[in-house]
């Protein structure tokens, strides 16, 4: 990979190490990914207001206990409380699709879903499609078909296609077009998205996935 993976935020050469970054996030906002079970997150109480409630969220196969305000959207909790920033914020009103995740296998807008409403449901984010350090079939197809430019809407597009293929493993072109019609791409790469979805369908079938 010719891309520079370091030097993300928190790793400036002014001295914050990656380790320091992660531990401070977990103190402030329940980055419980590495921990088994459903740890409590006392520091979260600083942020959540007095109407706060504790919920258990199942994200990419692991369950986390999180204190949230009822108004917090699933999108906000995924990104800022859990640290899964692959799911993007575009409009926060269900009009662009950048925040698409799977809830019980169906594509939905996490910005129009309250975190409290997602309790007890299985949530899958773009990070959940990785197979170890390898891309999942839909991700791979998007990379190979160049179905992106700036890449900001891409995680949402990929989740929409993943959701489509889970319920319809061999979609027609029209079904693909409808399947991604809830995801705006201002860079306008729709044609490549259609191609990627068709390719992803073949890759998944080859893998025996459904």
């Amino acid at each position: 990979m010719p891309e520079d993976p370091e030097n993300k935020a928190g790793e400036s050469n002014e001295g914050i190490s990656r380790r320091g970054f992660l531990s401070s996030v977990s103190a402030g906002a329940v980055a419980a990914a590495a921990l088994k079970g459903a740890p409590e997150a006392p520091a979260q109480e600083i942020h959540a207001g007095n109407k706060a409630v504790t919920i258990n969220l199942s994200v990419n196969g692991s369950t986390r206990k999180i204190l949230v305000e009822p108004r917090w959207t699933l999108l906000y909790v995924l990104r800022d409380a859990i640290g899964l920033t692959g799911t993007k914020i575009g409009c926060e009103r269900g009009e662009c699709g950048a925040c698409t995740v799977l809830i019980d296998g169906k594509p939905r807008y996490s910005c129009l879903t309250l975190a409290v409403e997602a309790e007890g449901r299985a949530i899958t984010t773009i990070e959940g499609l990785l197979e170890g350090d390898k891309l999942g079939p839909v991700q791979r197809a998007f990379a190979e078909e160049d179905a992106l430019q700036c890449g900001f809407c891409t995680p949402g597009q990929i989740m929409a296609v993943e959701g489509l293929l889970r319920s319809n493993p061999n979609p027609t072109l029209d079904q693909i077009r409808i399947g991604v019609s809830g995801n705006l791409c201002r860079c306008g790469v729709y044609k490549n998205v259609f191609n990627a979805a068709a390719k992803a369908s073949r890759l998944r079938v080859y893998k025996g996935g459904a």
Partner: protein
């Protein structure tokens, strides 16, 4: 950004009725409309009462009379894909498929779709309009290209629901439950125009909930169609839409049920066109005549006169396609 609110996940209808009886309490089914309104501050949201977990409000089942019962929490995606609907009540399946986007259809419910609040940009935006307790309908002299050409006065929003238009054409009934019991309301009587009620769009009392929709039996040769015209192929509300349900007999129309969407504050039944069609054989001329009949009485505002042509054209096209 949303103000904070209390949240109650109701385990039963009874719990929901109780929770809804306080001021500022709002019902959440799929949430696609409520959260948008909360974010825009269209109305105060002090308590959110979620009924999303009440399982008995989901699903499509046959009724003893041969019709169908659709639970109010059934998702629009399930309605669009349901075989019994696509076969016999195509207009409803088409209308459900025309809503929003795949994500909205997975999340949005049938009950929520017919109860959603208007999409008028003055109502949703930072304008103290008539419907929000202000003194003017900004649309009258304002940017009214998307507004009503029928039944508007004094507030000219158009009802945003696709499903309601199809349901009205299908002569559906709405089951409504509240703390003191249930009642059945004909779809045609479910909505209330702005002339009668400015701050709400339907007959529901604050603590009442739509629980199910009943579709009458579809017997004999029935053609039903929903056609939507919008600015974009997805994530758009109708500029105009037509739901047509024709009962055919020996090549003639026995009865016709024609309802328009996107042009009035509630699904707009065009009785004159229905009468014109009844008992006749459908041909090009009749389709065109029905189109003309459909827009008789339209009263466009400054910028929405095109909707008259659009409705006329759409009605004609829909009928011609059935021929």
């Amino acid at each position: 950004m949303m103000d904070n609110f209390d949240y109650i996940k109701a385990g039963s209808l009874a719990e929901a009725f109780k929770a809804l009886s306080t001021k500022g309490a709002r019902l959440l089914a799929g949430g696609t409309d409520l959260l948008g309104c909360a974010r825009d501050g269209v109305f105060p949201v002090e308590k959110v009462v979620s009924i999303s977990n009440i399982k008995e409000l989901k699903g499509i089942t046959a009724r003893p009379d041969g019709g169908l019962r659709i639970g109010a929490l059934t998702s629009l995606a399930d309605i669009a894909a349901d075989a019994s609907l696509t076969r016999k009540y195509q207009a409803l399946a088409q209308a459900a498929a025309a809503v929003g986007t795949p994500q909205i259809r997975e999340q949005g419910t049938l009950g929520g779709n017919i109860c959603q609040r208007p999409r008028c940009w003055y109502f949703r935006g930072d304008f103290l309009c008539l419907k929000k307790g202000g003194s003017v309908c900004y649309a009258v002299t304002g940017e009214n290209q998307y507004h009503a050409i029928f039944g508007g006065s004094p507030c000219f929003f158009v009802h945003p629901s696709d499903a309601a238009v199809a349901l009205a054409a299908l002569q559906a009934q709405v089951r409504v439950a509240g703390p003191s019991g249930s009642r059945t309301v004909r779809m045609d009587n479910f909505f209330v125009g702005p002339g009668k009620s400015i701050d709400k769009e339907n007959v529901l009392l604050p603590n009442e909930i739509v629980t199910e929709i009943h579709l009458p039996p579809a017997s004999g040769e029935v053609k039903s169609v929903y056609r939507k015209i919008a600015s974009r192929g997805s994530w758009d509300f109708a500029l105009a839409s037509v739901a047509a349900v024709l009962q055919l007999e020996n090549g003639n129309i026995r009865t016709a049920s024609l309802v328009l969407g996107g042009v009035a504050p509630y699904p707009w039944r065009i009785g004159a066109a229905e009468k014109l069609l009844a008992g006749k054989k459908l041909d090009k001329a009749l389709a065109a005549a029905a189109g003309n009949e459909a827009v008789a009485g339209a009263r466009p505002l400054g910028e929405n006169g095109y909707k008259v042509d659009m409705v006329k054209g759409a009605v004609e096209e829909v009928l011609a396609a059935i021929m």
